[in-house]
Subunit: 320 residues, 2 copies
C-alpha cells in the first residue's frame, strides 16, 4: 500500500491528510466535526472527502488505507469507549468505518497515542527506538511507543500519564473523578489553578497581579522575564511534571521524552525546567535521558494516523 | 535447546535449577554467595555446579543454556550496573559468564524482572498476555512482562515501581537517595516505619502496642484479627500501593497484577485491600483488572531464568 489518509477527529474539526509512503504528506485540509449521538454521519462526512480525493487523483479504494484518531480510550480489541467531547457511546469505530467507507484497511487508535507515533515516525523521535510523549493542552494526554509500536494496553489506558496520581493529598476533584492527577497541575487550566493558589497564599509582588485573567502562556512568559512568583509557580508545576515523567520511566524507561501541546510553546525554557526536575527524581544512571519538544504541532495526529496504516500494513497487525 | 539451568544470584545464596523444556523443573539446590569485588569467583562456583550436573546427566555444554538473575539494574545492552548487595561495579555479566562457562547461550536480567517472567510463564500469570509484578520484601521490586517478553527499558529501569514517587511531600530519604518512593511505605521495613508513625500520632489502643518490636507480618496479622489501628495502618499502606499500581497501569495497562515477596504471605486479605484502593484510582473501564498472588515464592527467580533461556532461544534475541 503506497497511499493512505490520516484523519484526526477533534472536538471542533476533523483534520485530513493524504500521504504517500514515498513522499510523505501530499496535501491536508479540514472539515467541521458533526456532533451526534452516533458516529455514522461524521464517518459519512469523512468518506465524502475520501471519495472526492480518490476521484481527483484517479485512485481506487484498493490502493489505500485509512488511519483514524479517536478522541477517547480505545481498547486492544479496537473498542472506543465513551467519547465525552463528541457524544458517542462505546463503539467499534474501525468496523463502522470499514462498512461506511467500503475500505478494508482502517486503523483506529486514541488521539494522544497516535500523536506520539506521529512524533516517533516523522517528528522529534526520529532515530530513537522508544518514547513517551506528553501533550500539555486543555488536558494532559500521553502516549508510549516501544519498538516502533503504539502501546495500547489491555483496556486502552496505556500512556494516560495525565491521570497518574502525583499528589495523594489533593482535596479537589479532577475531571476524571479522582483526586491528585497530574492534569490538575500540568494542563493549561491546571497551571492557572496552581497560579491562583500561589497568588492567594503569598504577598510576593508580581507582574501577574496586574492581569485580569491569567493564562498558562502568561505564566511561562513572565517566568522567562524573571518574575519571581511566576518562576515559583512554573518551578512547582515543573517539579510535579518531572516526578510524573520519572514515575513513567520507572515503569517503561523509554529512550526519549517528547513534550508537545499548546503549553509546550514555552519552548526550551519549559523543557529544561522539567528535565532538571526529572533528573532529581530518577536513578543516577538514567538521568541523561533525551528530552525534546514536539515538532509536528497540530499535524502530529494526521502524521501518526498515516504511520499507523503504513506500519501495521507491513506487519499485518490490524487492531481496528 | 531442550535443557537449561536457571540461576538466581541472591545476596546470601545462589539458587540453581535444572529445567527441561518438556518437563519443567527437574531438580534444584543452593550454594552460598561468594562476595568479592569481581564476579569471577562467584561465576566459577556456578560453573562447578553446572559441570558436575552435566557430567552426572551425561549432557554436553552444547545441549544447554543458562539464565542468570542479576541483583541490580541491567541495561538493554546487558550491562549490570553497580550491585550494592554483592559489591561489584559495572559489569557485562553475561559476557563474563560465557567466557568462564564456555557456553554460548547465557542470558542475564534483573532479578525482579526475571521473577515477573517466572510468574508469567509458570505461575500466577498462566493464560494472560501481560502483567506487572510487585515484590514486597525488604525493598519493593517490580517487573513488567508485555507479550511474553520482559520489558527492560533503555537504561534497565523498567518495572522499578518501588521507586516511583507516591508522596511528593515526604521529608525522609529512601535508600535510593530520593524522597517519597513507594518503597518507603510498602516494603516490609517501610510498613513498620508507617506503623511507628501512626502509633506515635494517636492514642488509639492497639494490640500492637504490647509488642517489643513490630514486623510487617504483625501488622497484617493484627489487622486480620480486627485491630483497628493495624487496620488504619494497612489501609494507608494499601492506598499508596493501589495508587502506585494504578499509576503504572496508566502507563502500560497490563492484563494482570501479581503481588509477591515475603509481605504477600498476608494473602487474599492484602490482595483485596490493595485491589480495592487500585479501583478507586483508575478509570472506570479499567477497574476489573485481574489481581493475583504470586505462586512460585522463592523459586520465581530460577523459573524465570529458565523461561528467559527457552524463550529467547526461540526468537534468537540474545540480550546478554
Amino acid at each position: 500500500m503506497e497511499y493512505c489518509f490520516g484523519v484526526d477527529i477533534g472536538g471542533t474539526s476533523i483534520k485530513m491528510g493524504l500521504f504517500s509512503r514515498k513522499d510523505g504528506l501530499l496535501e491536508k485540509w479540514e472539515i467541521p466535526t458533526r456532533k451526534e449521538s452516533d458516529p455514522t454521519p461524521l464517518l459519512q462526512d469523512i468518506y465524502q472527502e475520501i471519495e472526492k480525493t480518490l476521484n481527483e487523483k484517479g485512485m481506487g479504494k484498493e490502493d489505500i488505507g485509512v488511519g483514524l484518531t479517536a478522541p477517547g480510550p480505545v481498547t486492544e480489541d479496537g473498542l472506543l469507549r465513551g467519547t465525552v467531547n463528541i457524544g458517542w457511546g462505546d463503539v467499534f469505530l474501525g468496523k463502522e468505518a470499514e462498512k461506511i467507507f467500503g475500505i478494508s484497511s482502517v486503523f483506529v487508535e486514541n488521539d494522544a497515542r497516535v500523536a506520539a507515533l506521529g512524533e516517533f515516525t516523522f517528528g522529534a523521535g526520529e532515530g530513537v527506538n522508544s518514547l513517551l510523549m506528553l501533550t500539555l493542552g486543555t488536558g494532559v494526554g500521553g502516549g508510549v511507543v516501544l519498538n516502533g509500536q503504539i502501546l495500547t494496553g489491555k483496556t486502552g489506558t496505556a500512556g494516560e500519564i495525565g491521570h497518574t496520581t502525583i499528589n495523594p493529598f489533593e482535596t479537589m476533584f479532577c475531571n476524571c473523578g479522582k483526586k491528585g492527577c497530574l492534569e490538575q497541575y500540568a494542563s493549561a487550566t491546571g497551571m492557572v489553578r496552581v497560579a491562583e493558589k500561589f497568588m492567594k497564599n503569598t504577598d510576593k509582588p508580581s507582574t501577574l497581579r496586574s492581569l485580569d485573567m491569567i493564562t498558562a502562556k502568561d505564566l511561562w512568559d513572565r517566568a522567562k522575564e524573571g518574575d519571581e512568583l511566576a518562576l515559583d509557580i512554573t518551578k512547582y508545576v515543573s517539579r510535579l511534571l518531572g516526578m510524573a515523567i520519572a514515575n513513567a520511566c520507572y515503569i517503561v524507561d523509554p529512550e526519549m521524552i517528547v513534550i508537545g501541546g499548546g503549553v509546550s510553546r514555552a519552548g526550551e525554557f519549559l523543557l529544561n525546567m522539567v528535565q532538571k526536575e526529572y533528573a532529581q527524581n530518577i536513578f543516577a544512571h538514567c538521568r541523561d535521558k533525551k528530552f525534546a519538544l514536539a515538532k509536528l504541532r497540530n499535524d502530529a495526529g494526521i502524521y501518526g494516523a498515516a504511520a499507523m496504516v503504513f506500519e501495521k500494513k507491513q506487519t499485518g497487525n490490524n487492531h481496528n
